[in-house]
């Protein structure tokens, strides 16, 4: 890596730069690369980006200007907007599908050398017929059963098309399992940080978790080992949902699944788009195998599932008092 510093430092464009995961990733890369962060959201107060930061929509023409005015060598597309009650599906489509399309077009036009696109294991969908371990070639069932996840599937698809059709750019698409960590604010992290977590009565599917530090390491490996392809990536191993709740330090409360679906359906009439698809992920297992990524990149998770889940709570206990005192 020292040879890099002697030459020009490579320019890395990071999308979703205001998010928690990007923060962890860029802190690992800041020494060796020149970082350019973009995000439609501004940085949260008190947060610093180790490089330039621009508030910009990925479909906006100012996005092209970022590519035009600098030589972008590497794109880290971490800016997928997950399903949540706060974001409308049209907004997600705009960012995830149209945004990704524009970014990949710009990569093609400006001959970006490498790209890492962060997809999600959710694209496989939760289904009782899923094989014990999903591999990268498996069909993306989420598009069939989960309209809420169509944008995620389409984004993954766009990235794969780009990978196949463009030989100038080395593209790695990562499909991580449930991302957890002190700075992560996705649905599962928020769920497991609660005191009481609902479970579906009679169902206890297998889940997998990856700590943000391990995922950052995986992303770094993609850049440094010039990985090309689609890769599942996960933490140490499977764990049942109830055991995960126990490890995260919460209590579980079983609820009949039809009540949950019913409640979600009722709420959606009031234009509250709750992540209904997630309910199925707490009913059926969608377990991925990351053997391919481990073999080709040498990746090994450093944290156990228990450590990853504990980090949700222990850090929260540390962070919260700081907020209140500030």
């Amino acid at each position: 890596m020292n040879s890099n510093t002697a030459e020009r430092r490579l320019n890395v464009l990071v999308t979703g730069a205001a998010g928690g995961l990007a923060g962890t990733v860029v802190s690992r890369l800041a020494e060796r690369y020149h970082l350019i962060g973009v995000d439609p959201r501004p940085l949260s107060r008190g947060k610093d980006f180790p490089g330039e930061f621009h508030v910009v929509d990925y479909t906006h023409r100012r996005m092209s200007e970022v590519f035009r005015s600098r030589k972008i060598d590497i794109l880290l597309h971490l800016g997928r907007v997950p399903v949540s009650a706060r974001v409308r599906s049209s907004e997600r489509y705009q960012t995830n599908v149209l945004g990704t399309k524009n970014l990949l077009d710009l990569c093609r036009k400006y001959r970006v050398k490498r790209a890492v696109v962060l997809s999600t294991f959710h694209v496989y969908g939760a289904h009782p017929h899923n094989p014990g371990h999903l591999v990268e070639d498996d069909p993306l069932r989420a598009s069939q059963n989960f309209p809420e996840l169509r944008d995620a599937v389409e984004m993954d698809h766009l990235a794969r098309m780009f990978l196949l059709q463009n030989s100038d750019t080395q593209v790695a698409i990562l499909r991580p399992s449930n991302i957890v960590g002190p700075t992560i604010q996705n649905t599962i992290s928020q769920l497991l940080r609660a005191e009481v977590c609902p479970t579906l009565l009679g169902y206890d599917p297998l889940l997998q978790f990856i700590h943000e530090a391990d995922l950052s390491h995986a992303i770094e490996l993609c850049i440094e080992n010039k990985m090309v392809g689609v890769y599942n990536v996960s933490g140490e191993g499977v764990i049942s949902y109830r055991k995960a709740i126990e490890f995260a330090g919460a209590r579980s409360i079983p609820v009949p699944h039809f009540l949950v679906y019913g409640a979600m359906g009722a709420l959606s009439r009031f234009r509250l788009s709750l992540p209904k698809h997630l309910v199925d992920f707490y009913r059926y297992s969608a377990v991925i195998s990351d053997e391919l990524f481990r073999k080709e990149s040498g990746y090994r998770p450093r944290l156990s599932t228990q450590e990853a889940l504990r980090s949700l709570r222990s850090i929260r206990a540390v962070v919260e008092p700081q907020h209140s005192s500030a």
């Binding site: 009782p128 094989p131 297998l206 499977v238 059926y284």
Partner: protein, 285 residues
């Protein structure tokens, strides 16, 4: 958690606990194997249900010494409406085989959709009967149980008992591909436990079930009629057989090999049935 530990503490001897611990496949730090098996649940379940094996069905296992170490495909006849045969084979390998083995059953595709059953089955090592799962388990040197008759076997009426139905052939290809020895298994006793007189097809269709049995006691005696009869069960394990040839051979070649296994099991069944005669309910002796 408390109940599980109590069951294990009082339901299993120290030797049994140790033997089952030694039978475990690789576990991750959270205590699960790759397919969601949880040894604590398995031990507790065994402690809670061993009376079914020892007292209710008074099972006699023969030929357990025929089980080779490492990967093995257990191919068995299937009967008796509900998979009691699978349960008893699994218990015999845990309680009586030396060393103890965890049987990985290949369950029907609709089971993971069923509440309670789905998560329990996963914890005790049962997985969906998907070729990929089966292959992966064999590559991890597990003992995989397959009923090649499927519902054709379990749903048949008492008039066809111990007559093997059409065998699926997938297990032969798997055995060839993974170089796995096949152990033929004959279970006698389970097929009388639920003496189905007819399959009530219209109701089965309505429920989306593969079959709905009508027995002298069920459904007319209500829930009591749903209890299996306490027949005496014997399980015979034959000598290991190695399939030969190419896993990609034409179906006719594969069928011949499947037929060979089927006739082996049929002769084992005939032998046991003849020896038993009409003493369906005899004691274990």
């Amino acid at each position: 958690m408390g109940l599980k530990n109590l069951l294990i503490e009082f339901g299993l001897t120290d030797l049994e606990k140790r033997r089952i611990d030694e039978a475990q496949p690789e576990l991750n730090s959270a205590g699960f194997d790759d397919f969601g098996l949880d040894p604590q649940t398995l031990k507790a379940a065994l402690a809670a249900t061993r009376w079914i094996y020892t007292d209710y069905f008074r099972v006699k296992a023969h030929g357990l010494e025929n089980l080779p170490a490492g990967r093995v495909l257990l191919i068995s006849n299937h009967g008796g409406q509900i998979p009691i045969d699978g349960l008893l084979i699994g218990m015999s390998l845990l309680l009586e085989a030396k060393p103890a083995r965890v049987v990985r059953g290949m369950i029907e595709r609709w089971v993971p959709g069923v509440p309670f059953v789905s998560s329990f089955f996963a914890r005790v090592g049962q997985t969906v009967g998907d070729v990929r799962n089966c292959k992966e388990l064999l590559e991890k040197e597990q003992a995989v149980l397959v009923f090649p008759e499927g519902v054709r076997g379990s749903g048949k009426t008492i008039f066809k008992k111990y007559q093997l139905q059409r065998f699926g052939t997938g297990f032969i290809r798997l055995a060839l591909e993974t170089r796995t020895p096949i152990v033929p298994v004959a279970v006698v006793g389970c097929e009388e436990a639920y003496p189905s007189l007819l399959n009530f097809k219209p109701l089965a269709k309505l429920l989306g079930a593969p079959y709905v049995p009508v027995t002298p006691l069920f459904p007319f005696l209500g829930p009591i009629g749903a209890l299996p009869l306490p027949t005496q069960v014997s399980i015979s394990f034959g000598e290991a057989i190695y399939a030969e040839g190419d896993s990609d051979a034409p179906e006719s070649d594969i069928e011949k090999q499947a037929e060979l296994i089927k006739s082996k099991i049929q002769s084992m069944l005939d032998e046991r049935v003849q020896e038993r005669g009409r003493q369906w309910f005899r004691s274990r002796d």
